[in-house]
């Protein structure tokens, strides 16, 4: 491990601090804008030298971009796989940029620029992926930040833009605004009441889509869903965001209603299930990642229902991120086998719960 995470503003974990709106249900909000630099083939087609020139061009102007004052630039292409996985687990770089996808090994010129409010992935599927990540349900502030970055950077680097089609991207599903706004939301109530299917089908009718915890191509774990806009062309950014805000508010209401129904109609069954989840996390000696995610989902629900006291949403958020394998290896300072990681994970979760929630019930 060579990466020093303390160099990152807030260690790159500010988005976990549960400070945003509806933070018990909504873990985080992310908006990204896909942009390409005029005069170069897109990343997938570009030669190594071209990608390095794109990176150099961006690096040359960073100091003139106020949104990136004090930002850190990390060369993802020069990192060992463990460090790349660590950044991905922290939701700071995509699987593609980190080269973790077998179809897309890490590319020369792959880098990420991180400030405390916004970041830029360089040489992802598009040359630039501008992004803002926020704790809780914070689309408006995330959009304001990423839009400012877009204007500042686009005033220094020429972006590929077409009068009719808008911002040009490698994949036509991003053409136009290049904007993907997503909200990472915890919906155990809707899953337990089996209402989730209807809600997800409704999203698609509204031109929205959902993915798992890590975005595109990832599975749903721990009842976390990423809801985002499906289309990027033909509507202004504000219209796309308004629709997402309205739908997510509605989904939050449905989730709260589902929780009330659960307590009313299956009170002791739910209570028993959630306390068992807490008991397992509090005392287990070995936990796989999926087990930890599922039990943490139960404990998060129990905190939301005020069955468990003293446990902060911030701690629950940190547990989601820090119990992943690259994070455990980082904290232990060495590579771990899967069974070692399960032991370390169980110890880490036990200690975190003991210090905040103690023995209760």
């Amino acid at each position: 491990m060579t990466l020093d995470l303390s160099l990152l503003p807030d260690g790159g974990t500010r988005w976990l601090d549960a400070s945003g709106e509806h933070s018990n249900v909504v873990l985080s909000t992310r908006i990204r804008l896909a942009r390409n630099v005029e005069g170069f083939a897109f990343t997938g087609k570009a030669r190594d030298g071209e990608r390095l020139r794109v990176l150099a061009k961006v690096r040359d102007v960073v100091q003139h971009v106020p949104s990136l004052t004090n930002a850190v630039l990390l060369r993802v292409d020069e990192m060992p796989p463990g460090d790349r996985l660590l950044l991905h687990e922290r939701h700071l770089v995509s699987k593609e940029l980190a080269g973790l996808d077998t179809q897309h090994p890490v590319r020369s010129g792959a880098a990420v620029i991180l400030s405390d409010q916004v970041g830029v992935m360089v040489n992802e599927e598009d040359h630039l992926r501008l992004q803002a990540l926020r704790s809780g349900f914070e689309l408006a502030s995330a959009h304001a930040a990423v839009r400012r970055l877009d204007e500042e950077l686009g005033g220094r680097v020429p972006f590929s833009y077409h009068q009719e089609f808008g911002f040009l991207t490698a994949c036509p599903t991003n053409t136009g605004t290049g904007m993907r706004a997503s909200v990472l939301i915890h919906l155990p109530g809707l899953v337990l009441t089996k209402e989730i299917g209807k809600v997800l089908a409704g999203l698609q009718q509204m031109g929205l889509t959902y993915r798992g915890l890590y975005g595109e191509g990832s599975e749903v774990v721990g009842n976390f869903f990423q809801i985002s806009n499906q289309t990027t062309l033909g509507q202004a950014e504000e219209e796309l965001l308004d629709k997402l805000v309205r739908v997510v508010r509605h989904v939050i209401e449905r989730e709260e209603e589902a929780r009330r129904v659960l307590l009313r109609e299956a009170g002791y069954i739910i209570e028993d299930k959630l306390w068992r989840a807490f008991g397992t996390l509090r005392y287990a000696r070995s936990l796989t990642f999926d087990e930890a995610m599922n039990y943490l989902s139960g404990v998060r629900l129990a905190v939301g229902l005020k069955l468990i006291h003293g446990l902060s949403v911030y701690t629950l958020n940190k547990l989601l991120i820090f119990s992943q394998s690259a994070h455990l290896a980082y904290s232990e300072g060495r590579a771990l086998t899967e069974s070692e990681a399960n032991l370390v994970r169980a110890r880490y979760v036990r200690q975190a719960l003991a210090s905040e929630a103690g023995s209760q019930g």
Binding site: F42, F165, T173
Partner: protein, 161 residues
């Protein structure tokens, strides 16, 4: 009928496009047709309209077949169909007709309605690239302990900044 491209003026040029077995109709006003290189003076006079349109149609068919190639990055429409990713920004011009159709299917619309963008002025870009180059040279001068050159380069950077 309104023009498919600008959606403002009446369509006067009607083209049929056949890619593989899919047949699509393109209806354009005179202005947009002219922008796309379709000769339309004949449409207002009694000239050999049929012949001109036929050649324009063939041109478009030829241009948008799977072998159509982007002059900038040399990707073909076939490459795009295989990978789902375009090679560069110029592909949007090279495969414009096919892409407009695809964008409509994917997004329900092909006309950008979001933030408008003006690229930075050429002088600013030139200054930034000169600055980038000077900084590179400064780095190299310091590494090779050419301090007089480094001082000179630093002055030039200050002036530009």
């Amino acid at each position: 009928m309104l023009c498919d491209s600008c959606k403002e003026r009446d369509a006067v040029v009607h083209l049929t496009q056949i890619v593989e077995s899919a047949v699509t109709q393109l209806h354009l006003c005179e202005k947009c047709a002219a922008e796309k290189g379709v000769e339309t003076t004949a449409s207002t006079s009694a000239g050999p309209l049929a012949g001109l349109l036929q050649s324009a149609q063939q041109q478009m068919l030829g241009g948008q077949g799977d072998a159509a190639r982007c002059a900038f990055c040399s990707s073909t429409l076939r490459d795009f169909r295989a990978s789902g990713r375009l090679g560069c920004a110029h592909c949007y011009g090279a495969f414009e007709i096919s892409l407009r159709e695809l964008l409509r299917r994917v997004h329900g619309n092909s006309r950008h309605a979001g933030r408008r963008y003006e690229p930075p002025r050429a002088e600013l870009l030139e200054r930034d690239s000169t600055l980038g180059e000077l900084r590179d040279r400064l780095r190299r001068a310091i590494e090779s302990e050419q301090f007089e050159l480094a001082a000179d380069l630093r002055d030039r950077i200050r002036v530009l900044e």
